[in-house]
Amino acid sequence: MEFFIVQLLNGISYGLLLFMLSSGLTLVFSLMGVLNFAHASFYMLGAYFAYQVSTYIGFYPALVIAPLLVGGIGMLVERYGLRKVHRYGHVAELLFTFGLAYLIDEAVHLVWGRAAVEYRIPPSLEGPLFMVFTSQYPIYRGFMMLVSMAMLVSIWLMLTRTRIGLVIQAALTHPQTVEALGHNVPRVFMLVFGGGAALAGLAGVIGGNAFVTEPGMAAAVGPIIFVVVVVGGMGSLAGAFVASLLIGCLQTFSVGLDWKFAGLFARFGWTVTPETPFATLWNITLAQAAPVLPYLLMVLILIFRPRGLLGTRDG
């Protein structure tokens, strides 16, 4: 029970972090039809900027400044890069963001080196928040959840209650009509792209010190958020939310479990010996298989429900 509750809390906080990343990605995708390959790189930039800012003026200012910086970069990228390649079609846009991801990775290598930087949790957020039976639940995890939830609610309010949010929603489905009504749709695109980048940056700020801030962090999380977007349904914000929590829990739970097929077989009275065919496969524990599970889930979803969990468009 204790294991279950702790892992559930961890899974939810990780899932919320994933949602902060995938919400920007999926918004940009549904608005512009571009899957932004550099999205995870913005996440990494957020972490590094926060590290740099926090060494000068502390963590809390960094919590605001770093996402804004990343958002600014995102807007510049949209204005002077993406908008230019837009006329060459979606493949060119995808390739542009792919090249950008390379570039940001290398720039991070150049500026901050190849080793992890010492980006730590601020002292005021260290320590246990409450006890789950015998194990402590750290304050920082709670803080992560709080920030993610606050972000989530404010995005939802912005999209549904404000004027710009309504314009964004309208531009999702009928960009020509919105343009004809006198709204500057390219600027909406720029704002959304910048906003998505800023969200990724914010996720980097709070994720960078919870995990590790190193040049490989973009490559580690990038494919996972793509899995989230595909599993949830391309362009579906609600789907991304469900898929984020699902994959967050899937990953945290599987790491802690050592179930294996051999154990399952043993219940039915079969024992797996080294001579059994595919013995290595049956002896792999769930913890060992953890890195594969999200991708396996994605492949299964694509075979049995290609539009994703809550997706509406087919392919």
């Binding site: 899957l35 995808l94 290598h109 793509f226 290595t280 890195p291 994605m298």
Partner: protein
Amino acid sequence: MANLRMPPVNLGRWLLWGSTALLFIVAPLVFTQGFALTMMTQMGAFIIFALSYNMLLGQGGMLSFGHAVYSGLGAYFAVHALNMIGKGTLAFPVMLLPLVGGSAGLVFGVLFGYVTTRKAGTTFAMISLGIGELVHACVLMFPRFFGGEGGISTNRVVGHPFLGLTFGPAIQVYYLVAFWCFACMIAMFALTQTPLGRMANAVRDNPERAEFVGYDTQKVRFLQLVLAGFFAGISGALSCINFEIVTDENVSALRSGGVLLATFIGGTGFFFGPIIGSVVFIFFVVALSGFTQAWLLYLGLFFLAMVLYAPGGIASLLMMQLPVIRAGRFRRLLVPYLLALAAGLVAFAGLIGVVEMVYRISDASLDSQMSLFGVGFDAKSPQPWIAFALLLAAGLVALRLAAGHVGERWGAIHNELQGSEP
């Protein structure tokens, strides 16, 4: 070349392929250094890889982010076959080992292609990425077959030498790769001429219409992917023979990304584009990485510049010149071209200076005293920063002006040609 087309023999094509074969044979006689030989061997294997990738991206319109899966798994099966030959449990000529890799690529192409080719476009790109990550994670999960992080090493000098070929010396490996590269080039070119190759183009350009004509688009994509997997497997086996080691890097996203970069830089619209791309890419990877740590940054910048300004790749830039040359007007473009090149070089020099200085300062283990272009200076003093920044800015401004000039001349010539043709 149009006047060389004498049916039934297409003389121009024979000339082109003949000179390609000649180039393969003569190249190691001209560049005799060991360094050049290893580079050319890698280029040969990579050309097959990039061409097979272009069967998807260029000919089939499928943007794959996981093509290294097929070459990497091909390499793993080839390395096991090679080890079995070494142990004497398998009698198979080393020369034909690429067929083992190719078959493995083919089988996995059938397996994964069934899942990936159901959709085209962005969905295909995503699934291929997912499959790539899946395979990469699996490779690390089963150390018994894939050797874990250390990979599987082998020895290529095994079995009975055929005609005295042991494949010990690098030159023999080069000719083996060259032979396979040439054979695969011909095979893949021939494939573009078959109904399947043509239908792949149709499915790329207008899938709906292709379906109305009565073709199953999924089946066309599937066949194209399976065949591309076969050729990728051949390239994987060749790189296994060349390096005598196969690690998880062979199936990694880095390698999938590399082949995408190479193919796109070369140009996806023409058959020979990926060949140019591979040569440029391997040059970047092998030669440039020896000089600077920032080679990936330069490669990334080069790639971005291509995406922004020349989405057809180097091949399309070359082919654009053909009508101008044929009309005898290339001389008028020569001066603007040279000006643009000079401006570009100035900007590039400035960029190199800035990047190398950043690198020098960020790496604490290095001395800030450095030398570039034969000039020694201290990276921590402001003068070189100002100098290189000025160089970069001046070069960029000049490049913009020169590009405008090129565009003007180009437009004028284009108008003249259009006016004279009908």
